[in-house]
């Protein structure tokens, strides 16, 4: 298996009339962790949404393994897990059901695999309660279990540790490090740095435009 590579060259993005990203460039290879920082409204979420292809850049390209991500969006998305700042869960379903439906669309997944991922993110204590009864931090743990279950090389996480307690922060750091050890790439927008291994960590600092 060849190492993966994600790059962006001088991305310019407009949101309405605002020029949010002005020439953002980056490169990440297998094992790298790319930390996106910046004040509120600096364009962290816009950058992540541009990287996953939800937002189109005005100029500049994002390339996955050398290929423009919009050239074969389906193949790119099949290798990508995106976690927005809201946890994408159905309030009327239990965490187990949520993951069964959400991950099942991407790949065949068994009940034991789901149980293992929920246990890993500390969510097995409430795996069969409706999501509407869970706290924001508990929902975040379920959403993180979904990212783990996707079993893809590229993770794009928007504030992955939001709502989580101190132990949760450490958990996110461990998950990120394991993903990198397996040759994956992690890109995360954060306010507080994640507790990850120092080697292979790069930073993109965005400033408010």
């Amino acid at each position: 298996m060849s190492a993966h590579r994600l790059s962006g060259d001088s991305l310019h993005v407009f949101r309405g009339e605002r020029h949010v990203l002005r020439g953002v460039s980056f490169v990440a290879e297998g094992g790298d962790y790319l930390e996106v920082t910046g004040s509120n409204g600096a364009g962290k979420t816009s950058l992540l949404r541009t990287i996953v292809g939800l937002v189109h850049a005005e100029s500049g390209r994002v390339r996955w393994n050398g290929l423009d991500i919009h050239a074969d969006a389906g193949a790119f998305h099949a290798q990508l897990a995106y976690l927005g700042h809201e946890s994408p869960l159905k309030a009327d379903l239990t965490p187990r059901e949520n993951l069964h439906f959400a991950i099942g669309i991407r790949r065949r997944v068994g009940g034991d695999e789901i149980a293992r991922a929920l246990a890993e993110t500390g969510a097995n204590g409430f795996a069969d309660r409706p999501v509407r009864t869970l706290s924001a931090g508990q929902r975040r743990r379920v959403a993180l279990a979904g990212v783990v279950l996707a079993a893809v090389p590229l993770w794009v996480l928007d504030e992955p540790a939001t709502h989580l307690d101190a132990e949760g922060h450490a958990l996110v750091g461990r998950l990120v490090d394991r993903q990198r050890a397996e040759g994956g790439i992690v890109i995360a927008a954060v306010h507080a740095p994640l507790p990850v291994a120092g080697a292979g960590t790069r930073r993109i600092g965005l400033t408010l435009q």
Binding site: L54, L80, L93
Partner: protein, 225 residues
């Protein structure tokens, strides 16, 4: 191919399970349909021959407005909780996933309306012989309506309180369905052949099947940007 089918089954399965966990949303359009159609005999006249004359119009206007009520919820929740975003990034065809969603929407709104229409027609003094034709025409008409509604629902996703705009967008396009659907029902009541209006409704449904999911997927992508 088989993975596409199992994908659709998961999307439909999720929607059905959610609908049965939260039944009020499911019952709302049906209640609306029942109330509107039972108010007519009270306001108009209890005379069976006159009721029979207005039955096609009452039935179809009621069914059309009830489906419009339901269409508003087709994509709204999925857009709010980020499910649509995950669909768009799942590596699967968004067109296909939205098609599956529209199928589950029809199973939860159009099909119950079609099953209910004979009961409502009975209340309007329609003879039992006409019931299969009425149910079939409502079933076919609501398929076309759900698909048409999928486009409008996707187009109005980005708009806060898009309900009014949704009706304005959908109603003009639904007028042919209303005309031919009511005609099919009228012919069923007279005991005449339904073939011509049913072919028209079927043509609309087929056109919707081929084009609506593509248009809805394009509109959803724009709303996510």
């Amino acid at each position: 191919m088989s993975s596409a089918v199992s994908c659709a089954r998961l999307v439909i399965g999720r929607d059905l399970r959610l609908a049965f966990r939260n039944r009020t949303q499911l019952l709302h359009p049906l209640l609306f349909f029942a109330i509107v159609t039972t108010l007519f005999p009270l306001a108009l006249t209890p005379e069976p021959s006159q009721l029979r004359d207005v039955a096609p119009a009452v039935l179809w206007v009621g069914a059309l407005l009830a489906s419009l009520l339901a269409i508003e919820f087709l994509f709204r929740e999925d857009a709010q909780d980020g499910t649509l975003e995950q669909y768009a990034l799942s590596g699967r065809s968004l067109t296909w996933l939205l098609f599956a969603k529209t199928v589950s929407h029809w199973l939860l709104s159009g099909l119950p309306l079609a099953l209910m229409s004979p009961i409502v027609a009975y209340g309007l003094a329609v003879s039992p012989a006409a019931m299969p034709g009425i149910a079939a025409s409502v079933a076919l008409g609501t398929i076309a309506l759900s698909l048409l509604g999928a486009i409008s629902a996707a187009l109005t996703l980005g708009i806060r309180r898009g309900g009014a705009l949704l009706s304005l967008l959908t109603l003009p396009l639904a007028v042919p369905l209303l005309i031919f659907g009511a005609q099919a029902t009228a012919r069923a009541i007279e005991g005449a052949s339904l073939v011509a209006p049913m072919y028209f409704l079927a043509a609309c449904a087929v056109l919707g099947l081929t084009l609506a999911p593509l248009a809805a997927a394009a509109a959803v992508r724009i709303s996510l940007e």
